[in-house]
Amino acid sequence: MKNVILFVAACMIMLMLASTGFYGDWFHNKVLNTFDDFSSQTDSMDISYRERIRWDGGYSFATGVTKYFADNKIKNPLLLLPSDKYMKANKSNIRVPEPIIFYYFTGYQSVQYTDSNAKKANYTVLIRNNKFALVPINTPQERDGIINLFKHG
C-alpha cells in the first residue's frame, strides 16, 4: 500500500516537474518537440537532406559551388570566399563557411581574402541581382579589385 502511495506521489511530482514552470517549458520545447518531428524525420532519412537541414545556408552555398565545378569539369579551383562584410552589405543572411569547413563540405580548396594564398585564387562568388554568381578570376587586377571589395564590404 505504501508503495502505491509513493508511486502516486512520484507521479504527481514528475508530472508537476515535467509540465509546469521552467522545467515544464524545457521538457516540452527540448524533449517532447523532438517526438513531434519524429514521424517526418523517419520519413526523411536521406543523409544529404539531414545535412542540408542541419548545416543550413552555408552548406547550400558550398554544394552549389561544388555542383558548378563538377558540371563544368573545372580542375583544381581555388575559391576566394566572400567576406561576412560583403555578404551583409549585399543583404545576404548566408554565413559563408570558413576554408576548412568548406573543404569538409565539398573537398575543394578555398581561401579567405586575408590569407596570403588569396593571390592564387582563380574563382570567387559574387552577388549579382540578388543571386550568387561564380566568377572566374582571370587577371591580378581583377583579383585585387575583388579582394578590395571583400575588404570593404
Binding site: 500500500m1 505504501k2 508503495n3 502505491v4 509513493l6 508511486f7 506521489a9 512520484a10 507521479c11 511530482i13 514528475m14 508530472l15 516537474l17 515535467a18 521552467f22 522545467y23 524545457w26 521538457f27 527540448k30 524533449v31 517532447l32 523532438t34 517526438f35 519524429f38 524525420q41 543523409i47 539531414r50 545535412e51 542541419r54 548545416w55 563557411p97 570558413e98 576554408p99 576548412i100 569547413i101 573543404y103 569538409y104 580548396q109 578555398s110 581561401v111 579567405q112 586575408t114 590569407d115 594564398n117
Partner: protein
C-alpha cells in the same frame, strides 16, 4: 546504419572497460561496473587510431578492427586467467514501483537525446573546423595527417585539439555510419545510470530521481548530450576521478587512488587544461595523505604520481604528436598570457563568472535551477545542520577548484574565452554538486523520513482494542505495515534501527 558494427562496438567497449577495471581490481555493484565499464571503454577506444598513427599504420576498417580486438584481449588477460574464480553476478534488483514515473521521464529525455544524436550530423563549429573534418578525411585517406592540413587554417586552431573526438568519430564512421557521434549517447546513458545508482545508495529513490532530473534538465548541458564536443566527456572523467579519490580517502586502497589518477589522466587527454585544475587539487591530495600519517617521502611520491599520470596524457599529445607528427607548427608558449603580472583579467573573469554565468539573468536559461538548488542545500547544511561529511568536503573542494580554476585559466590562456570555454568548463562542477546532494544532511533527513515511514513496523496493537475485537493474546508482535519488498533501502533501514 550498420547495427552489427554498433553492437560490436558496444560489446567491445564493455569488455575493454571491464578488463581495465579488473586490472585495477575495482569491485563494485553490477550497475556501477557495467556503466563504468562502458564509460571507460569509450575513452580507451579514443587512443586506438592515434596509436596506429604513431606507428604509421594505415587507419582502415581492418586495422582499427584488429586494434580493437587486440586491446580487448590485452586488457582482459587477467580476467581470462582468473575466469574460473570470477564470482557470479549479483541478482539484478528491479526498481521499486515508485521509481517508474521518474524512470519513464528519464527514458523519454534519453531517447530524445539519442535520436537527435543519431539523426543530425555534427553541428558545432569547433567540430566541423577541427576534429570532425580531421576524422572525415582520415576515413577517406587512411591517415590522421591528411589533406585538411593543406587548407588555409588561419581561422582556426581546432585541428590541433586532442584527438579524443576525432578518433571516436573515425571508429564510429568506420563501423556504424557516416555521422559517427553515437559514442556520445553511450557515454551519456552510462553516466546517467551510474549517477542515479550512486545517489540511490544514500538517498530515497524519489529524492534521487528529482535530483537527477534537475541535473539532466540543465538546458545547455543537455544540448551537449547530442552535440559532440569535448566538455561533456571531460566533465564525466573529472567527476569519475574525484569519485575514486573519495573511495580511496575512505578505504586507503592504493588501487583506487591509481584508478582515480588514470581517470584524471583521461580527463586531461580530453581537455589538456584540466592539468591546471589537477595542480590546484594537490593540496587536497597532500592533506589526505597527511591525515593518513604517511611518511613524507611517500606523500611526495604519491602526489607526484597524481600529477605525472595526467601529465603523461598531456605529454603524448602536446609534446610528441603535435611536435613530431603534425605538419603544422604549434607552440604552447605562444598560447600563454604574455602579461602574467596583470591579475585584473582573473578578477574580471571571476566577477563575470558569478554575475553573468552562475547567478546572472541568463544563468537559469543556461543551467536551469540546478545551481540555485545546490547553493540553497549547502547553505541549509552549513547554517542549520552545521556539518558536511568527508565525501561532501572532497566534493566541495572539487567544486571550488573549478570555481577558481576557470577564471584562472582565462587569465593564463587568453583563448579560454568566457561564453564558450568557461561556460562549458563549469559543467565539471555539476556532477560533483549532484553527488554532494547524497551527502547533504538536509536531503538525508528527508530521505530517512520517507524511508522510515515506508518501512516502519507497526506499533503494537493495544491490548484493550484487541480484547474488544476478541483476539486476545496475539497482539504483541503483530506488525501493521510490512514492506512488500524492502530491498536495499529496507535492509539499510532495518540495520539502522538495530
Amino acid at each position: 546504419m550498420n547495427t552489427i558494427g554498433l553492437l560490436f562496438l558496444l560489446v567491445t567497449h564493455f569488455l575493454c572497460g571491464w578488463g581495465l577495471l579488473q586490472l585495477f581490481n575495482i569491485k563494485m555493484k553490477p550497475t556501477f561496473m557495467v556503466s563504468l565499464s562502458m564509460i571507460v571503454g569509450v575513452v580507451l577506444f579514443s587512443f586506438l587510431p592515434l596509436l596506429l598513427q604513431f606507428f604509421y599504420i594505415r587507419i582502415t576498417t581492418t586495422s582499427v578492427l584488429f586494434a580493437i580486438l587486440a586491446a580487448t584481449i590485452i586488457l582482459n588477460i587477467k580476467t581470462i586467467i582468473n575466469f574460473k574464480s570470477l564470482k557470479k553476478p549479483e541478482k539484478f534488483e528491479w526498481p521499486h514501483l515508485y521509481e517508474y514515473p521518474f524512470l519513464i521521464i528519464l527514458l523519454i529525455i534519453i531517447v530524445a537525446s539519442v535520436w537527435r544524436c543519431f539523426y543530425f550530423p555534427p553541428y558545432a563549429r569547433d567540430m566541423l573546423s577541427g576534429p570532425e573534418a580531421l576524422a572525415e578525411f582520415t576515413v577517406r585517406e587512411h591517415t590522421l595527417l591528411n589533406s585538411i592540413f593543406s587548407v588555409d587554417l588561419e581561422s582556426t586552431n581546432n585541428h590541433l585539439k586532442t584527438p579524443y573526438v576525432a578518433d571516436l568519430q573515425i571508429i564510429y564512421k568506420l563501423f556504424v555510419y557516416q555521422f559517427g557521434q553515437l559514442w556520445l549517447s553511450v557515454l551519456f546513458v552510462s553516466f546517467i545510470v551510474w549517477v542515479y545508482a550512486l545517489l540511490k545508495e544514500k538517498l530515497h529513490p524519489i529524492i534521487a530521481g528529482i535530483a537527477v532530473f534537475c541535473f539532466i534538465a540543465m538546458p545547455d548541458v543537455y544540448a551537449y548530450t547530442y552535440i559532440i564536443l569535448f566538455d561533456y566527456s571531460n566533465m564525466i572523467f573529472y567527476f569519475a576521478g574525484f569519485y575514486f579519490f573519495i573511495l580511496y580517502a575512505d578505504s586507503k586502497q592504493i588501487n583506487q587512488f591509481l584508478f582515480s589518477c588514470l581517470l584524471f589522466g583521461f580527463a586531461t587527454f580530453i581537455r589538456p587544461e584540466t592539468l591546471v585544475l589537477l595542480g590546484m587539487t594537490i593540496p587536497l591530495v597532500v592533506y589526505t595523505f597527511w591525515k593518513e600519517h604517511l611518511p613524507v617521502k611517500k606523500i611526495i611520491f604519491r602526489s607526484a604520481i597524481f600529477l605525472l599520470i595526467p601529465f603523461f596524457f598531456y605529454f603524448i599529445w602536446m609534446d610528441i604528436f603535435l611536435k613530431y607528427y603534425m605538419p603544422v607548427p604549434f607552440s604552447v608558449n605562444d598560447q600563454i598570457n604574455k602579461n602574467l603580472f596583470d591579475f585584473s583579467v582573473f578578477f574580471t573573469r571571476f566577477g563575470d563568472l558569478n554575475s553573468k554565468l552562475m547567478f546572472g539573468k541568463v544563468s537559469s536559461l543556461i543551467y536551469g535551477y540546478f545551481m540555485d538548488i545546490f547553493v540553497f542545500l549547502l547553505a541549509v547544511d552549513l547554517i542549520i545542520f552545521r556539518r558536511v561529511n568527508k565525501e561532501g568536503r572532497i566534493l566541495l573542494y572539487g567544486i571550488v577548484v573549478v570555481y577558481i580554476g576557470l577564471p584562472f585559466l582565462g587569465y593564463l590562456i587568453p583563448w579560454v574565452d568566457f561564453w564558450d570555454t568557461t561556460k562549458r568548463g563549469i559543467y565539471k562542477m555539476f556532477p560533483l554538486m549532484l553527488l554532494y546532494m547524497r551527502d547533504s544532511p538536509m536531503l538525508q533527513r528527508i530521505s530517512d523520513g520517507i524511508k522510515s515511514w515506508e518501512f516502519a513496523k507497526a506499533k503494537p496493537v493495544p491490548a484493550v482494542a484487541a480484547t474488544k475485537a476478541g483476539k486476545t493474546g496475539q497482539t504483541a508482535t503483530q506488525t501493521k505495515n510490512r514492506p512488500n519488498n524492502p530491498g536495499n533501502n529496507g535492509k539499510a533501514n532495518q540495520k539502522k534501527k538495530k
